[in-house]
Assembly symmetry: C2
Homo-oligomer: 332 residues x 2
């Protein structure tokens, strides 16, 4: 039975929603129930009633913790004993490391040897064992496979994993619980884990809720895949939204085909303007990938006054240069 078949029949759909509820149970008291932020100015500018689900306030700073914790806690005792491995230089690395620390599971993170020092350090602080490799996709996968062969680790893929997707879906579940039904939900798409979980839950449980993905114009593989009807590989993405540079998997592409109404593209300039708005007007630190879904509301062609929920995916930004510069200016 393929992954697609598991969600087609009515019975199976209910099973998927049940699994999301079970994920929410596993995460209860462990994840932060992140706050909803609203802004008179944002509502005025957009003409919608906008609710930001602020996963930048999630533990380790991004929604990724939900999926990682759900996946790790769903492992068999044998798998837990042997440990897990993943390859990531981004938020998923920290998410897996923190989940492992909380669950007492050894985590090994394969990272390219040119990964930003601040991300390597953060992952190490959460207890992850770092294994460096050359900065190519092939080197990452080979290093991972070798570790799996040598130690029996279980791979925790950042999005091609149904438990990761179901964990990510708990964010939109909370959002509905916090603000009631929504006319539309927007989430960013990179590898497709967050948008898959968001779309499944919103379509299956919402009342006529539209679901939109938001993607950088400069990394528009999901947009092109949806139009073409088959996966278009991610090719040299040139976007500041570093969390959205990955391509889709078969699993996430099928969820997107089945559940997502459309994909909206945003320019680099729109991402930055939105980030600046979120920082300076709403006073929340949001990373470029997290601003993409908010930026996309400009493209939303639904009735004015509609209730729109937006998943703000994370807030991990390297501000060392900014604060070093401020530090040189102060009078000690």
């Amino acid at each position: 039975m393929t992954e697609t078949e598991t969600i087609n029949p009515t019975m199976q759909r209910e099973a998927v929603i049940d699994e999301i509820h079970r994920a929410a149970e596993r995460l209860r008291g462990i994840v932060n129930v992140t706050p909803i932020m609203t802004s008179r100015t944002l509502n005025h500018l957009t003409g919608f009633e906008v609710y930001l689900k602020c996963e930048n306030f999630q533990r380790m700073g991004a929604f990724k913790f939900r999926g990682a914790y759900n996946a790790l806690s769903s492992l068999s005792p044998e798998q837990k004993r042997k440990g897990v491995v993943t390859h990531s230089s981004g938020n998923h690395a920290q998410a897996v490391a923190l989940a492992g620390q909380l669950l007492g599971i050894k985590t090994t993170i394969v990272m390219p040897n040119n990964a930003p020092k601040v991300k390597v350090e953060a992952t190490r602080q959460y207890g992850g064992t770092i294994v460096m490799c050359k900065p190519t996709q092939r080197a990452r996968e080979e290093t991972c496979n070798q570790l799996i062969q040598d130690h029996g680790y279980t791979l925790i893929h950042p999005y091609d994993n149904i438990n990761v997707i179901q964990g990510a879906a708990t964010a939109v579940k909370e959002l509905f619980e916090q603000v009631g039904n929504l006319d539309a939900v927007i989430a960013p798409v990179g590898g497709g884990g967050l948008i898959s979980g968001t779309a499944i839950y919103a379509k299956e449980t919402g009342k006529s809720t539209h679901v939109f993905a938001a993607e950088p114009q400069n990394a528009d593989d999901a947009y092109r895949s949806l139009r073409k009807g088959s996966i278009v590989p991610q090719d040299a993405p040139n976007t500041i939204a570093d969390g959205l540079r990955t391509g889709l998997s078969e699993l996430t592409f099928r969820f997107i085909q089945q559940y997502v109404d459309d994909i909206m593209l945003v320019s680099e300039q729109e991402i930055l303007e939105t980030m600046e708005f979120l920082w300076t007007r709403m006073k929340i630190v949001v990373e470029p990938s997290g601003a993409v879904s908010v930026a996309a509301i400009r493209k939303l062609q639904i009735q004015k006054g509609s209730k729109v929920g937006i998943i703000v995916s994370g807030g991990n930004v390297d501000l060392q240069n900014y604060f070093s510069s401020l530090s040189r200016q102060v009078h000690k």
Copy 2:
């Protein structure tokens, strides 16, 4: 009857609390009920149970809106008709302008001609009429006095005004309503309006609540005033916390003497480190003056495990350079 006498007898104390309750009524539905933020890491680092009252999420980005709105809405019809004036290049300017816009009261803001363009623009956008003057305290006061004489404006002083103080006190009132009684409350001290309102309310209604002021070492006039027993003028303050460079008034000094347990000093480096923690770990944009009260928790000598509420005063930071620099880096 002096201001001090008004709050000494029991009857008068109750009257002051009544006035704060009346201020809260006036502000209901107008001010944001700002959220409380907590952090496992902050609790772990400090050993306290810390609740941040995030007035950086207040309208126009700072607690100042509470006092300005309360003061303007407390004016007589005749005063409202004639309009108000204030001198400020900071958050109070924007607060008065916004309050005037909402209440339909003409506001005139005297600003030094070297005020940052971004602050002048923000004040103008809220509907304030800007009158420029030379960048000296004397020029500000003379310009204000001339406007009062010519147009019959009422001066809305940023802190030497009991209505401004009672409006500011509504922040700590909300904090108690949101988290229950607190063992200690910390607020920053500049001119003394926020700490006065905070201290009056917390001491009169809290159960054995300690009240501490936080002040930059490099602008420690309130600290020295409290120790000397009389107002020490603010002399060439050299701090990044631009909202805390003002000196006390007789009114605020007396409130501080009567209600504040102690004043804790923090260095410029401590302010910056705290700001960086708030931005990068808690994902909230806090201005230097707003980080001062959080930085001071390192100096807090009370029982570990105590419940500590901290007023985070504002989040207005000029990030134009930061985003201009990011904008030059993106691939358009």
